[in-house]
């Protein structure tokens, strides 16, 4: 096994995902196979090879740094589920009020 259920739970926490207790076992097994597949890269000698992190071989092209109104504030709020006084309304950030923080 390249990974175990504890690792899966840890990674899920990082990714802000959760799995039901009964799903974890199967999911871990599936993930383990995939990780074994991608770990075939270990066979490859990459000594001294620079990584490629971008899709472009040409240079990146930047526009002039000038503000331009493309979408209004009202439009941007169209897909917001709950709002109040021009703000997005969400549940309380901390459990049990400030004392629970």
């Amino acid at each position: 096994m390249a990974i175990n259920e504890e690792t899966v739970k840890h990674v899920a926490k990082l990714a802000k995902l959760e799995f039901k207790e009964e799903e974890i076992h199967d999911f871990t097994e599936g993930m383990d196979k995939i990780i074994q597949l991608v770990e075939q890269l270990e066979d490859l000698d990459t000594t001294g090879v620079e990584g490629t992190y971008h899709g472009i071989t040409h240079h990146s092209v930047l526009r002039e740094d000038k503000a331009k109104l493309e979408v209004t504030r009202e439009e941007l709020f169209k897909n917001v589920k709950t709002q109040q006084d021009g703000y997005i309304k969400v549940p309380a950030i901390m459990d049990n009020g400030e004392s629970g923080a």
Partner: protein
């Protein structure tokens, strides 16, 4: 000949000389969709009212004889945002998401008067190779309705193959245009990274994603790429060099061209022999047209799958962080605090395959695994890219099968992610290298279409279209019509 059997050029000609109106074409499109959609299931949404209104408007203004695509229909993959029209990426996460702007490609099509017919089904967030990962519906292959159309752009491919629309747009991160094109017997182009603006394409793997056209003929495909290409100041990775007319010189043939045949892409012992046989026969056709065939090697090909799944998933895990239930998208009910809102919205809104990729990506980027996974994959990517650069010193383009099998049965592989991932073995290296590749029909194996991909140098789509056109003119695979086998 039915209206929708015509090429875009022929339709344009009839619009100009008054034999047809744009409204008649659009009505024919929606009639055909009505007739076939229950079997095919390509569309997630239709914009009939808007489309007919736009057609009338164009008819009234009169067709501009120099604007070849004006008044003609196109379908759009549902991960390309369309202002005022729900765009879901086939995810519950975006079920009610109505974009407030158009993607650059959509803006460009609107400007020239192409008419959007509707939004096409896909694998959720473009993750998959069968369209079975759609949260909303099953899309079927028009050649055999018990088989998948491929994916992730399965709706875009099925709609064109079924004759519902002459052309459509898809996106390709690891084969998502070429594989469905191969499975449904049509033409699908993944342009060079940077050729087409990604602004308004819902991001999956940002260093790999490209939008490209589907069509029944090579020239129709080139016409659509002409329309959507070009530098966009809203996408800093878009290419600011020249955009050629991809149809110019398309009929010049392949005489004297050198075609590379990468030996790693030909599995003579493959379980489906019809694929390699069809592509070998196609190479003979190219030889008879005056091209020279040269065997070449892309030695790092076998590292394509591991490198791709690490890079694409890592980029996805980062890109999909934006879906947090706050500003747009699915929001879970009954949560007690902000963290629960994030976790529950994401866990309820994303499907299993999307979660799998986010998990793999997060793992590959996490402390302790970054060097062995993400960094190593980036290095493998360099070697894969160099493989292509090296062979292109000697040959004009490459020819290889697009897929290792023809379209498989719906439900046949979906529970086996490993088999699904390995199916992308012939398409992902192209995305890692950023080079262009077009899949065209080149035969049949057990009554299902076989696709062959032509892979070119960076920004040399023109040679690919020219070579694809030469093959198309010499053969009649593109004229075969799907049988809707298994349908009523």
């Amino acid at each position: 000949m039915a209206i929708l059997d015509h090429t875009l050029e022929a339709l344009h000609e009839q619009l100009v000389n008054g034999e047809l109106t744009s409204l008649q074409i659009m009505e024919a499109v929606y009639d055909r969709i009505e007739e076939t959609e229950e079997q095919v299931g390509a569309f997630l949404a239709l914009s009939k009212t808007e489309a007919l209104a736009k057609a009338r408007e164009i008819d009234e203004a009169g067709i501009d004889p120099h604007n070849i695509l004006s008044g003609l229909p196109i379908g759009i993959k549902d991960n390309i945002v369309t202002k005022g029209i729900t765009t879901t990426a086939a995810s519950k996460m975006l079920e009610d998401f109505v974009p407030v702007y158009d993607a650059t490609v959509v803006e460009k099509l609107n400007e020239i008067g192409m008419i959007s017919v509707g939004k096409l089904n896909m694998d959720e967030f473009a993750m998959g190779g069968s369209t079975e990962n759609s949260a909303f519906k099953v899309t079927r292959n028009p050649w055999n309705l018990s088989k998948v159309p491929g994916g992730s752009s399965g709706g875009s491919a099925a709609a064109v193959a079924a004759g519902q629309v002459p052309v459509s747009l898809g996106s390709d991160t690891g084969g998502s245009i070429r594989e469905p094109a191969a499975f449904t017997g049509i033409v699908g182009m993944k342009p060079t990274y940077g050729r087409v603006s990604r602004f308004g394409l819902i991001a999956f793997g940002s260093s790999l994603d490209q939008i490209g056209p589907f069509s029944r003929t090579v020239k129709d495909n080139a016409l659509v790429l002409n329309a959507i290409s070009g530098y966009d100041q809203r996408d800093s990775t878009s290419y600011d060099g020249e955009t050629p007319d991809f149809t110019k010189g398309i009929e010049k043939g392949v005489k004297g061209m050198r075609i590379g045949v990468p030996k790693e892409y030909f599995h003579e012992d493959a379980k489906e022999k019809g694929i390699v046989e069809s592509v070998r026969a196609a190479l003979k056709t190219y030889e008879s047209l005056g091209a020279e065939i040269v065997e070449v090697s892309l030695p790092h090909s076998k590292y394509g799958i591991p490198a791709y799944y690490i890079i694409a998933s890592s980029e996805a895990s980062s890109n999909l962080q934006r879906f947090d239930g706050i500003r747009y998208g699915y929001r879970a009910d009954n949560v007690n605090n902000l963290d629960e809102l994030y976790v529950k919205s994401r866990s309820e809104g994303f499907g299993l395959e999307v979660k799998r990729r986010i998990m793999l990506g997060t793992f590959s980027l996490s402390a302790g695994f970054y060097d062995a996974h993400f960094k190593k994959a980036a290095q493998a990517r360099t070697l894969i890219r160099q493989d292509f650069e090296k062979v292109f010193e000697d040959v004009d383009f490459l020819v290889a099968p697009t897929t290792t099998t023809t379209a498989f049965d719906i439900g046949g592989q979906i529970d086996d992610p490993l088999t699904m991932y390995m199916a992308d073995i012939l398409t992902v290296p192209v995305n890692l290298a950023g080079v262009p590749s077009v899949s065209i029909p080149c035969g049949f194996s057990e009554e299902m279409p076989v696709g062959m991909q032509l892979i070119g140098k960076h920004f040399d789509e023109k040679t690919l279209y020219r070579a694809a056109y030469a093959f198309e003119q010499a053969t009649d695979f593109h004229k075969q019509k799907p049988a809707f086998k298994g349908g009523k």
